[in-house]
């Protein structure tokens, strides 16, 4: 198991930094996701860790040893590519043996290790097939097996599920995560799919424009986003504005106490997740802000409402479809004060 530490890593292709002085410490056996919109520098970061790109500045350490000048083939990494990159002229077995042959492992050990890894990815019996004779999901698992069988220091995956259909993608999420736990390998996973990052990772690194916006566990990222950009990128969010007075922001939903140093009179943005809100019938006598239902979207287990508050502001609410409200209904919206999260003052 390997601890990876990235310090002030920068990559400039010549048109300004694509990755801008990022630092991450990845613990032994940790599963880290790099999450961010297209072009934010996720792949570039991964390539630098793998060694496919030179770093313009900064350090990458595997267990304290700087590997910046170690070429890819000596870096001892396992990499899974988006399109799998299985060698089409080799059978599954030959694909898996390749990395072991490069390490001059004896033939009989190669055989036992391949059998073991095939069992691990549930593909025993497929060793004589060519990649083109496998389904997308099976190819994916071979690619994973090929990266793991060499027992690398670190596993790197670049959007490995992007080419699979939705159902298979969810299965593979669980599969990869389970496998990673069992093997206990330090893993860096690149994705622009927040659900993937949230469900699989120990910690998520949210990146924008080559910089790290936030590093944290999935729940930290979701419930306590560092700023507006992160809040909006990870799931849906309502932004509620209000003036601070005496460490309290008064909103349509009532007074919300805020921690942190905010000057009196400053206008604050508060994040409020749609599922934090509760809808009640208008005459229930509960506390809450009156609102009108603009529209609703039913998706089986959940209903999404768009509501208009008395002041004209629009909020999104997600609830279980126990009580249904029709478009045009008057309702009460209740938001517990502890579910608000301050994102900072309005610029």
């Amino acid at each position: 198991m390997t601890e990876v530490s990235i310090e002030k890593l920068t990559k400039d292709y010549g048109q300004g930094p694509a990755v801008n002085s990022i630092s991450i410490r990845i613990a032994e056996g940790e599963f880290i996701s790099l999450l961010g919109p297209s072009g934010c520098g996720k792949t570039t970061t991964l390539k630098m860790i793998a060694g496919f790109e030179d770093a313009t500045a900064g350090a990458i350490r595997f267990d304290g040893r700087d590997v910046v000048h170690v070429p890819v083939e000596k870096r001892d990494i396992g990499m899974v590519f988006q399109n799998y990159a299985l060698f089409p002229h080799m059978t599954v077995e030959k694909n898996l043996a390749f990395g072991l042959e490069m390490r001059k492992i004896p033939k009989d050990e190669i055989r036992t290790r391949i059998a073991k890894v095939l069992d691990m990815v549930q593909l025993t019996g497929y060793s004589e097939r060519y990649p083109r004779q496998l389904s997308g999901g099976q190819q994916q698992r071979v690619a994973l097996a090929r990266a793991l069988v060499i027992e690398p220091k670190i596993l790197l995956l670049d959007e490995p599920l992007a080419n699979l259909d939705a159902k298979l993608r969810e299965e593979m999420r669980v599969f990869i995560r389970d496998l990673q736990r069992r093997v206990g390998i330090t893993t860096v996973y690149v994705t622009h799919d927040q659900a993937e990052a949230m469900t699989m990772s120990d910690r998520v690194v949210v990146m924008f424009g080559g910089r790290i916006a936030q590093i944290g566990t999935p729940s930290e990222i979701y419930e306590r986003p560092a700023n507006l950009e992160v809040a909006e990128f990870v799931g849906q969010v309502n932004i509620i504005r209000g003036k601070v007075g005496n460490r309290i922001v008064s909103t349509a939903f009532g007074d919300v106490p805020v921690s942190g140093d905010f000057a009196d009179g400053a206008e604050l943005m508060l994040a409020l997740r749609p599922e934090a809100l509760e809808l009640l019938p208008i005459h229930s006598g509960a506390t809450g802000a009156p609102a009108k239902v603009l529209s609703s979207y039913y998706s089986g287990s959940l209903v999404d409402y768009r509501l208009e508050l008395a002041g004209g502001a629009v909020v999104n609410v997600q609830t279980f479809p126990r009580t249904r409200f029709a478009d045009g209904d008057q309702v009460l919206v209740h938001a517990p004060a502890e579910r608000f999260w301050p994102l900072g003052t309005v610029a």
Binding site: F52, V72, E73, F81, A85, F87, H89, F98, M102, R103
Partner: protein, 260 residues
């Protein structure tokens, strides 16, 4: 186009392309003393004459030797150029392509004459085969380049990256991953190089040394003064030889293995 019409159309094209070859082959079995069609009687007479003609035999050996050398050199340079062109050329891509294809655009005579000047001015002369082989490599290079770069286009660079991540150095990546996957292009290009080199006249004619000759030159020389079916026998043998090279390399090197 309707199906029967299309079939007929194809047959006519094939007939147009193959008829001259058929005529030559049939004429080579002529028992008479002159190259005529239809032949007067059938015999292997002229093949015997040809096989016992030391001048022709020497010319064939020279041609085969030159074609073999040309194929190897052109194959290596052309493959390397194609690899550079597809994966590394960047902004130079178009320039590299034009440069590689230039020998196709220039009239062969011009290439031949300038090469002749060149080999004399650098002191090589024409008494060894160097100038000749350089000339053959020059005109066959575009064919290797085109074939190899076409098969490189369907080569996914991620395959090389994957091999590298698994610990393969540069040479291993080429030998174990890239070469097997671009093999059809390499073999195809080399076949072109061989056949063209075996067949080319102008360049060989300009760059040949005194008393040296390749098969096409010898044949031309022969036809200036003779008109026997021996010429047809020579041609037929050269057709069979080239076809043999194509068939054997397909079988032995497995041009068709590339199925995926």
């Amino acid at each position: 186009m309707s199906k029967p019409f299309f079939t007929v159309y194809c047959l006519i094209i094939y007939a147009f392309l193959l008829a001259p070859i058929a005529v030559v082959v049939i004429a080579s079995f002529n028992a008479g003393a002159f190259l005529t069609f239809p032949p007067q009687g059938l015999s292997f007479r002229w093949y015997l004459v040809f096989f016992n003609n030391e001048v022709f035999m020497r010319a064939i050996r020279t041609s085969l030797w030159i074609a073999a050398m040309t194929t190897v050199i052109s194959g290596i340079i052309g493959t390397m150029a194609a690899m550079f062109y597809v994966t590394h050329a960047g902004k130079l891509k178009e320039t590299v392509r034009v440069a590689m294809l230039a020998p196709l655009l220039l009239p062969e005579v011009l290439t031949a004459i300038s090469l002749l000047f060149f080999v004399y001015s650098v002191g090589l002369g024409t008494q060894n085969l160097v100038g000749m082989i350089v000339g053959h490599v020059l005109i066959t290079l575009p064919f290797v380049f085109i074939n190899v770069s076409a098969s490189m286009e369907s080569y996914d660079p991620a395959w090389s990256l994957a091999a590298q991540s698994l610990g393969a150095g540069r040479f291993t990546r080429f030998r174990r991953i890239m070469l097997p996957l671009i093999k059809p292009g390499v073999i195809g290009g080399c076949l072109f190089a061989f056949i063209i080199s075996f067949d080319v006249f102008t360049i060989s004619f300009m760059l040949k040394g005194v008393g040296m000759s390749t098969l096409p030159i010898q044949l031309f020389d022969y036809l200036r003064t003779n008109f026997t079916p021996e010429a047809a026998a020579v041609s037929t043998c050269s057709i069979v030889l080239t076809m043999a090279v194509v068939v054997i390399s397909e079988k032995v090197l497995g041009l068709r293995i590339h199925r995926f």
